[in-house]
């Protein structure tokens, strides 16, 4: 009924169709997960805040704003593709919620694997991300805040998404942080700042 050439063309067509069907409707598979060990306590201690704590910050204009701490740790999974193994990552999240209409402050540890453990601080439209294993150094300098000296203070620049229409937009530009006290100062691009206020 079919000649040799027609048969070859038919087989080719059937093969392409089968590939298309397999690609469009893949067989069900059991999702796999790649686990990662929890964030070690020695790294979690980089964030001194405890769930339910209240920390106070004093604005450069004098107002003292209490922030309530919410801290939680969890394990999440990221799936890049259907049937590809899910990559577990560990989170240690702290949210400082102000009792005033300004932004919350977000301090987070994210562990993707034994080499990638990120420490990040976000406030309003600004943030910084560092590798907690290689880039954190608390030996930089001392800083006097509200008549009290803090030692081993890490100074971090906060970056913000660029907007060519507003190159000088108001933003948080730096954070001063210690392992013992957490954030001791936040500064803004217009000179306003928030200092840790200890009663």
């Amino acid at each position: 009924m079919f000649g040799k050439n027609e048969k070859s063309a038919l087989y080719l067509l059937l093969s392409i169709s089968a590939l298309f069907i397999l690609y469009a409707c893949p067989l069900p598979c059991e999702p796999q997960r790649i686990s990662v060990l929890p964030i070690p306590d020695s790294v979690s201690m980089l964030i001194p805040y405890k769930n339910g704590d209240t920390v106070n910050f004093q604005h450069s204009g004098g107002l003292v704003v209490p922030f309530v701490c919410q801290r939680d740790s969890s394990a999440e999974y990221a799936y890049s593709d259907w049937c590809s193994p899910g990559q577990e990552y560990r989170l240690d999240e702290t949210l400082l919620i102000p009792d005033y209409p300004i932004s919350s402050v977000f301090v987070q540890l994210t562990k993707y694997d034994e080499q990638n453990l990120l420490f990040s601080i976000s406030v309003a439209n600004s943030s910084t991300v560092l590798n907690a294993l290689h880039e954190l150094s608390f030996n930089l300098d001392s800083l006097k805040v509200n008549q009290k000296w803090f030692y081993c203070v890490m100074a971090l620049n906060l970056s913000s998404s660029e907007n060519p229409n507003y190159p000088n937009k108001l933003r948080f530009d730096s954070v001063y942080y210690t392992q013992q006290n957490g954030i001791v100062r936040l500064t803004m691009s217009n000179g306003e700042y928030y200092d840790l206020f200890e009663k």
């Binding site: 604005h59 204009g61 004098g62 209409p101 300004i102 309003a124 229409n165 108001l170 217009n190």
Partner: protein
């Protein structure tokens, strides 16, 4: 081709354009007001940046017996802003109808407060705050339930703020839904023609004034 041309000519013939008047357009913030700062009584500054500044037409179609007999094109202006601390503020204009039931409208929204004022009816026609909503029902005989909205809006030829005189200002005061107010419910707004937001106040007395 003939059908295409005739259809377009037909649609042009039944299209009614509703546009915002030049006078009302003056209430939009001009580009000098697309980046502005406000400070509260404690000296805490927030900056508002323009996110959207759009001008378009929304189309409406009327049918009778399956035949389109009228197309309306209503002009819209919309400006939105967000602040350093994630406050959201928007302002919009819409045209009136030629039936005389209602007129040109301005709508303002800041955080959880929104309201709409109708120039022809000379009244607030909607007020919304903290998920509570009031809207006047308007029929050919006028506004039903005249006492539905207790919030007020007043227009001033000029007003003085911190030693500066601002021309053409409206002042909104929220009076509805008092049982649902929180400490940070916006209860008052001052808005200046061409300039934009001048001041807003929370229920707890905290106010934010243009710098």
């Amino acid at each position: 081709m003939l059908c295409f041309i005739s259809c377009n000519l037909f649609e042009d013939g039944i299209t009614k354009w509703y546009k915002v008047s030049e006078e009302t357009k003056l209430w939009l913030a001009d580009s000098s007001g697309f980046c502005f700062r406000m400070a509260d009584q404690n000296g805490i500054t927030r900056e508002y940046l323009n996110e959207q500044n759009t001008h378009d037409f929304s189309e409406g179609e009327s049918f009778f017996g399956g035949v389109k007999y009228r197309i309306s094109q209503r002009e819209n202006y919309y400006q939105s802003f967000s602040s350093t601390f994630n406050d959201v503020f928007s302002f919009s204009l819409s045209p009136g109808y030629d039936d005389g039931y209602w007129g040109e409208r301005i709508s303002l929204s800041i955080n959880s407060l929104s309201f709409t004022y109708d120039f022809l009816l000379d009244r607030l026609v909607t007020v919304e705050t903290n998920f509570n909503y009031l809207s006047h029902k308007i029929t050919s005989s006028g506004v039903e339930n005249d006492s539905l909205i207790h919030s007020t809006i007043d227009f001033y030829d000029e007003i003085e703020f911190n030693g500066t005189t601002y021309p053409h200002v409206f002042h909104f005061i929220l009076s509805d839904f008092q049982q649902n107010w929180t400490e940070y419910t916006v209860t008052e707004v001052y808005y200046v023609r061409k300039l934009g937001l001048l001041e807003y106040r929370f229920k707890n007395g905290l106010s934010f004034t243009r710098q």
